[in-house]
Structure formats: C-alpha cells, structure tokens
Symmetry: C2
Subunit: 433 residues, 2 copies
Amino acid sequence: MADLIEPKILKGFRDFLPEAEIDRRSLVERIEASFRSYGFVPIDTPVLEYAEILLGKGGGETEKQIYRFNDHGGRDVALRFDLTVPFARFLAEHRNELALPFKRYHIAKVWRGENTQRGRYREFTQCDFDIVGSDSVAADFEILLMMRNTLQAIGVGDVRIHVNHRGIFNRFLQRIRGSDKSVDILRTVDKLAKIGREATLDLLSEILDAPRAGEILSFIEPRENFEETLKAMTEAAGGENADSERMRRIYGFMKDTGTADSFFLNPSITRGLDYYTGLVYETFLNDLPDIGSVCSGGRYDDLAGLYSKEKLSGVGSSIGLDRLISALESLGRLRKQKSYADIAVACVREEDGGGYQVLADRLRKAGFPCEVLLEPKKMVQQYVLAEKKGARWLIIPGDPLRENDLGLRDLRSRETRENISLDEITTILKKEE
Amino acid sequence: MADLIEPKILKGFRDFLPEAEIDRRSLVERIEASFRSYGFVPIDTPVLEYAEILLGKGGGETEKQIYRFNDHGGRDVALRFDLTVPFARFLAEHRNELALPFKRYHIAKVWRGENTQRGRYREFTQCDFDIVGSDSVAADFEILLMMRNTLQAIGVGDVRIHVNHRGIFNRFLQRIRGSDKSVDILRTVDKLAKIGREATLDLLSEILDAPRAGEILSFIEPRENFEETLKAMTEAAGGENADSERMRRIYGFMKDTGTADSFFLNPSITRGLDYYTGLVYETFLNDLPDIGSVCSGGRYDDLAGLYSKEKLSGVGSSIGLDRLISALESLGRLRKQKSYADIAVACVREEDGGGYQVLADRLRKAGFPCEVLLEPKKMVQQYVLAEKKGARWLIIPGDPLRENDLGLRDLRSRETRENISLDEITTILKKEE
C-alpha cells in the first residue's frame, strides 16, 4: 500500500523490547539500590540545554557530534552529550540549595551523532555518580569502594580497579622537565594498552627525547604489588610528597576494609580528560577484561569553572551501562525474563472476568504478580500463550468459579493438579521464591 | 567575571533537585510495581525519530509544537511529543516478535514547544499503558481496574473514574441524524464541564438545530446511578445493542470485584481524539477534583494504521505524572525526603575512614542505607550536616574505633546515647521501620 509510512528507527538508535528492557531496568535498579545505600541521592536535568552551556569553550569532537538546532524561539539549543556538563551547570545554578559535600547520582540517556560502527550507539545511557565539595581522602576512597561493591552486586563477578594519581605523574614530569608537554605525554601514555610498548616509546621519543621516553616507560610500568609500585613512583617523582602520602592513605583504607585485592596501582592510567587533577581509575571485569573499562573517573578541582567563580572540587565516576549489558550478555548472565508475572489465570468463561481479577488480586496483594488471560480460547492455546509470556504456572478456574477448587498447570513439567485451593497455590509460589 | 557563562536552563524545562527527584521516583516506582503486578511489561523507544513517523499525516497543533530539525546526515528528525505514536510505530515494526494480547507500559519524557503559561512544561513525563490485540470486554475492564488500583496505591486517595462508550453515543447521533456532524458535536460536548450548559446548548444549536441540541444535552446528562444512566442512554440510542450490552458487562465486572463505587457512567465524556472507538474514560481525585483528569484513555480499533495493514485494536490509558505530583503537593502528601539514608556515621579521626566504611557496610548489608561523613569537622557541625542531609541518626565512633562502643545521636530528640554497640543500633533501626 503506497499510503503506509515505513516503520523504521534512526541509525544508531534502538527499541527495547520487554525482554531486553526488563534486564536493563533490573540492572539500573540494582545499581541505584547500591548508590542509595551509600546515601547518594538522584537528580535530573533537562535533555535539551542552551548549546552555549553544553559546548562551553567549544571542543572539536564534541562540537561535531552534538545534536544542535534552533528551537521555536530561535534559541540555539542542543541535546546533552554527557551528564557531566549539565551537572556542572546544575551545581553553579543551585549551589545555595545544596549541602556540601553533595553526593549525587544521575542515570539518563545522552546523544552523540557518532559513527555507528563498532557497536557504538547514538543514543545511550550514562550512569554518573560524584561527591562534590570535599577534598578528603575519605571521598576518594568512598567512590572507589562504592564502584567495587556496586559492580559486584550486579552479577558481573569480581572486578579489578586500576588506580593512579595524576599528581605523582605531574611531579615526575616536572622532575624530568617534561611538564610543558604533559598533555601530549598523558594522551600517548593512555594509548599504551592499545598500541603497545614499542609504538608508545617511539611517540614519546618524538615528544621529548629517547632517554626521557625510556624514563617515562619505566615510570608507568607497574611493579610486583601496590606498595612496590607506589615506592617506585614516589622515588621517580623526587621522593615523598602530599600526593604519594594520599595514595598511601587510600591503600591503607583498602586494607582496612579488606578490599585491597580488588585494586591495582597502575601508573599508566591517566584518563585523557583535562579536568582530572588527582586520583584517576578504570575498572575491568576479571571474567571479561578485553571489553575494556566499564567504570572510570577521577578527582577534579574545578568542575563548574565555566559557570561559577566558586571552585568546586570533587571525585566522580561513570558506569558504561551499554558496555556492562554487553558483558553480561557475553557471560550468559542476562536473565532474559519475559515478564514479572510467574503466574497467570486462564479464561474459561468470559462472564467470569470479574472473578478472575478477584483471584489475581489476592495473589498480587500477597506479592505475586499475576496476569489474567483475557480470551476464552482453547485451553491448549492458553498454555502456549502463558508460556510465551513467561509464566511458569497457569491457574485453570472451574465452572462455576470457586476459589477452593482450581486447577494448577505447571507449564514447565506440563503437569496439571486438580482441586487445589488459592491458599495452596500461594504456598507453592512461596516455596519457589 | 566576563568569562563566565550564565548557568541557566531553557524556559519550560526543569532541574529536579534531590528532594523533588526522590518523590518523583518514588511515585514512578509505585506505579511500576502496580503495573508489573498485572503482568504488564516495560518497553523503551528512541527519544528522536524520523519526523515523518511522528507527524504521520500531519496535524495542526502538533506540527507547531514539535521540536524538529535536520541531523548530521540531513535527516528530518524530531523529538517525540507523546508515547502513543512511537508505540504505534513500535507495534508495526515488531509485530512478529510480540505475543498478543500485548500488555505494555512506557514511562518516559516527551517534548512540546508549548506556551509555558498555566504551569505547562515543554519537557514532561508520560506514563502510558495499553493492552493491544484484544477486543475483549475483559481487556477494557482490566485497564479500568488497574487504573483504579494503581492510583489508590500511590497515596492520592480515592478516585472516581468517569466512563462512557463512544459507540452508544454514535448510535444515538445516528438516530437523531447528526452523524455527519459527529466530530464537531463530540468536541463541543467535551467542553461541557468548562463552558457550562447554556454555552454548550448554543454551540450545539448552531451545529444542528435547537430541538436536537436539547436532545443531545439530555442524552449527556447522567441519571441517578450507573444502571439508570445506561438505561436512558440505551433507549436514546434506539434500544439494546452490542455497545450497551458491553457496557452492562463491564458494569457487572465492577460489581463482581467490589469496585463499582469508583466508577461513574458519564455520557458527556467523549475524549477529543479521533482514534477512540469504544470505551472512553477520565479519572478525577475525590480529594481534589478541580485539578482535572489525572488518567484518561479509551479503546481504539486501529492503532498502527499509518504504518501497517494489520489492524491492531486495543485499550490504553495515560497517567499525567506532573499533574499527579501537583495534586500530591497540594494535598501535603509528598514526603519531601532528602535522602534514602536514615543514618550516618560521623568522622572523628580521618585515619579511621576505612573503619567507618566497614561499620556503614554492616548497616547497608542489613538493609539500612548509611552515609559516611567524610571530614573531621567539629561534632556540632556534623550534627547540622547530617540533619540537613535528612538523617535521623548519627553514629559517633570512639577513638579508638570499636564496634561495641559507639555513640548514637538522635538528631530529632537531640539526645546522645553512649556505649552502644552496632547490634543495638541495628535493633533500634529495625524498630523504627
């Protein structure tokens, strides 16, 4: 029919069918429960903002990827491309309404008109959490601990969080008189895992010279354990200093909480972004390290500087939800649940529709989601439908409908029990939980 | 400083600070729990779609309000302005992946560049739920029952759901030979509550003539109860017919489930939208009727007609989340909770930061969200901070830190107990739940 509009979505965008959406929400719900247990609170900001706010002083890649247009009032607006910039604007705007240190999380969609090759999406979900307004070591450690415990709570298995301190790196660069090239050096070092030692050495030699390139490569090499690495870094940076002392304190907290095994001091971790000034980290799954970092971030000392004179320091992190879901998928750990309802009520007589809802409401009130089938089709068709919808059990009401005289079909074993009461069914459901 | 960018958001858009966001999420969580208990499943669709998909055959108001632009690839795209059109497209696209009847919900933001007067927003949240692929009376009734039970579960008090049947109205119009003017008549009748009887009569007289205007006004007048109204409507429509029979069946289900008191047959409810063909409804709060309908919808017989040859009938509804929150606010029923953590741990010695997290983790694992204060400020400042953050209790660790020798400050009564153990604290928290 020429009249029809072809139902299709934009490249890089996705529909989520129930099975995928239930898994996605279940993941978000477990992440949120963990954040909340640490006293972190949710905020939300608009999807659309002034382009000037989002682009700040402008930036190459971002500017090319951002969805930007003029609205009805001729305003230059854009869809947010991350949750950090809106958060910085939010802090500058609402500073007086917030008690510092402010611990917030924000889980929401962002948009980038990126090349969609390599499994990248143009619409994806970010999951950010920050502690703003505290310079304390305790804040750094809390973020690390929360990352570890949250990821372990959502079923991706054990994680290894690679940590580093930008300040120690900077001191080392100062000592070898490489500070003026620090941006180029950090970017190059960041590529180590991708391009390998040789290529990194070549690039660094071009930036500085061969001997200092060698020193850098030695600096970023982890030693046999956390303490040895920290010792080597500290020496290379010219001896004990506030940053190495801070790193030692964080390590002490790791030991005090029995979590040291989850952390790895890796001097090659730098995080490309300019605004990090202290601790930085990336998180890898022990069961699937090749997927890359699933949770990264660091400490910054002036988050809202574009919009406010007040310096707001803090420490934050971001979980890549889409990457986590890919990981769970690869590990076969997605539940692929089709519904929240394990039990359904069959439709025997249309005129008993009210009674079926009464029956179902009893189960719902007892905490068991229950779907009511709506059409009096052949019972075998109803078995198939209930199973397709993800139910394990199907109640087959009698004619006349009596709460103490029901049938219960186990859709897995394909056995049906007769003359069972609603109370007995509840007992069975409780046992299965 | 001339350098700073002013931190501001677009007119009609909103930031949600924690207190508001916690209330909003708590509302959504309760709504979702109710939907899920009926076997409804979530879906999600892209925020951005082809403009052609969203605008369909084009429509005056919508076309003016929609946020529409050309993306990087020159595609004509737009932000969704409701969740119904994307759902229709979703159904046409994924028909073969879904088991019908399909019961889905979708809670998400939509955008309309509306005039922002009268408390309207340009970014707001819709909460839609539908049963698609069933013509059954049971489907109509399930939507009504779920609306009632969901709204009662979220603390807005009792509701009154006004129901009507478009089919009976159409039969009546046919009888008085007014069918060719039905769109105008329905739109006029829809305004009754706003403009009053006299003005409605005048408008109807212009559309038809004075005697028939009078007949319409009599038709849309509710009688003393559901049955009497249905009887009068049926007679005016020319006697018993399939639609009046259906309405009677629905009324029977209301009585069978003991919910008839929540429903009101109101023949003046028509819902403006053209696609409704059967049952239609609007929901009012008994405690705050003037706020208008908080949940409306109806039955349609061809939802995805723009994109698919297959006729998909169904019944659906939409909760206006922003209006519900206004209502709860007016009724003083928002919790205005500042955090999920009722308890916090004070910071006595910086070097015990690891130990404080161990303490807090015990409480978190016992189900009590617990915030750790990060800086060793004066204790009275920590009292103030913990209170500001919404905690009721503050644990004051000793020096040295011992789990069996803690202080517990009740921030409400301002009393502090000494020498209390973590187990005793857990017992107190359990009692308070």
